[in-house]
């Protein structure tokens, strides 16, 4: 099917992109929208590398067709922070060694962001459940879990008042 205009909110800004509506959200993010932070791992919804937030909920961008996000809010890892202004999670992943080869890291950051938005002070079980849809073959997960704990404390200390 030929490209059509699809409108959504992307990382807080309204965008219009021309794409075939049955293309995967993952391909449209990485292609026409130029947001290559979202990675393709398995392409089958198993590994979570392509996790983005759709109206605040973590989803696998490899299983969402871009026509399905018309009028909705998408947030990718680029929407969390940037080199000049890392989010508490991004900073904690760097400091705690929560990232090694890095291919899974954007997906973990996005899943963890959704967790901290819902549960600002999560317990270890909350963290492990929230990250259960993200696979990492390098870290053994422990440093990722520690990074999320550190980030939750940092976020709390940044809270106004």
């Amino acid at each position: 099917m030929k490209a059509v205009k699809i409108r959504c909110t992307l990382n807080g800004r309204p965008v219009t992109v021309e794409a075939p509506p049955a293309a995967r959200l993952l391909d449209v993010l990485r292609g026409p929208l130029g947001l290559t932070g979202t990675k393709e791992g398995c392409g089958e919804g198993e590994c979570g590398s392509c996790t983005v937030l759709l109206d605040g909920a973590p989803v696998n961008a490899c299983l969402v067709l871009v026509g399905q996000v018309e009028g909705r809010a998408v947030r990718t890892v680029e929407g969390l922070g940037d080199l000049a202004d890392l989010s508490p999670l991004q900073e904690a992943f760097v400091k705690e060694g929560g990232s090694q080869c890095g291919i899974c890291t954007p997906g973990f950051l996005v899943s963890a962001e959704a967790l901290l938005a819902a549960i600002p002070q999560p317990g270890e079980t909350d963290i492990r459940e929230a990250l259960a849809g993200n696979l990492c073959r390098c870290t053994g997960y422990q440093r990722i879990v520690e990074a999320v704990k550190v980030a939750s404390k940092e976020r709390a200390s940044r809270e106004p008042g």
Partner: protein
């Protein structure tokens, strides 16, 4: 239909159930295929394995994930109605379902990780009709009804008549699943959801058991069971169910249960497990559930 051809599909996002039914009616009449897409956790994955269409007609993809009439969860008295496009996440966090049907909400939490829970739906689970489907096993234990609609109106199919063969269902080409209905289990009984897989999240079950035991004045009056991955379709275990009512959970022996399970399932060897392991686990899960029923019945 390979992944490379995915963008070539025609795609529409109908705004109402009437629009969906009209499109299905028109296309089914001409023998044209239509894909009803909600969370995509099954169909999009399947595109990886599909061969190229080689210029053949691609199906129309109808995004039904936001059709208002098939969304939401409603409780009316003792009846529950779950929209076909309600996600597992919505099921999992529903207050009444959590209190009255913890077996169902436990299933919704186990079916996959959060990314799958946020997209997958019970309607999709019933439509794709995988014998390994967790949602179908839970709905079988509830003896749910599947409500279908087409341009002429609605019809109701008891879940026992829903699966007509391996990945085949009673849905006609011009119909869409609109909701699933069931009676809330009586309070004070026992419910169990057990999923046996390779890991806790993101694994397709080797065997799954959904079970409900209901009591009136201390007597077991109904046992509902649904088992996944042990037969070409979701198993309802009718012989085991009958033993729960007569002679009853406190009398029936483990050996009788094992024989009934053997009669009710036909497991196979495949990539995820073996027939022998599945048969062993199926018996162990059923025995375990009946053991939990005994104290209630003897105390009643």
């Amino acid at each position: 239909m390979s992944l490379a051809e995915l963008p070539l599909h025609a795609f529409e996002r109908p705004g109402s159930l009437a629009d969906v039914c009209a499109t299905l009616s028109r296309r089914a009449g001409k023998g044209e295929e239509t894909v009803l897409l909600a969370g995509g956790t099954d169909w999009v994955v399947a595109q990886h394995m599909s061969p190229l269409s080689l210029g053949g007609e691609l199906p129309l993809v109808l995004d039904v994930s936001r059709v208002p009439e098939i969304r939401g969860i409603r409780i009316t008295g003792e009846r529950a109605a779950i929209g076909a496009a309600a996600t597992y996440l919505e099921v999992r966090h529903h207050a009444v379902l959590t209190r009255r049907v913890p077996m169902l909400t436990a299933m919704a939490r186990d079916v996959g990780a959060l990314q799958i829970q946020a997209r997958g739906t019970l309607g999709g689970n019933l439509a794709t009709a995988s014998p390994a489907a967790d949602g179908s096993a839970a709905l079988m234990a509830l003896d749910a009804d599947v409500i279908l609609a087409n341009v002429h109106g609605e019809r109701r199919v008891p879940i026992g008549q829903w699966f007509t063969g391996y990945r085949r269902t009673a849905r006609a080409d011009d119909e869409i699943i609109v909701r699933i209905e069931f009676t809330l289990p009586r309070t004070g009984g026992h419910q169990l959801w057990r999923k046996v897989g390779t890991r806790a999240a993101q694994s397709i079950s080797k065997v799954a058991l959904a079970a409900i035991g209901e009591y009136e004045r201390g007597r077991c009056v109904r046992v509902g069971l649904g088992m996944g991955s042990v037969a070409p379709v979701t198993a309802s275990l009718p012989t085991v169910r009958a033993l729960a009512v007569s002679p009853g959970p406190q009398v029936v022996t483990d050996e009788h249960l094992d024989a009934a399970v053997r009669r009710d399932i036909s497991p196979i060897d495949d990539v995820r497990s073996t027939a022998a392991y599945r048969a062993h686990v199926a018996s162990a899960l059923v025995r375990g559930f009946f053991h939990t029923l005994r104290p209630v019945s003897s105390a009643g």
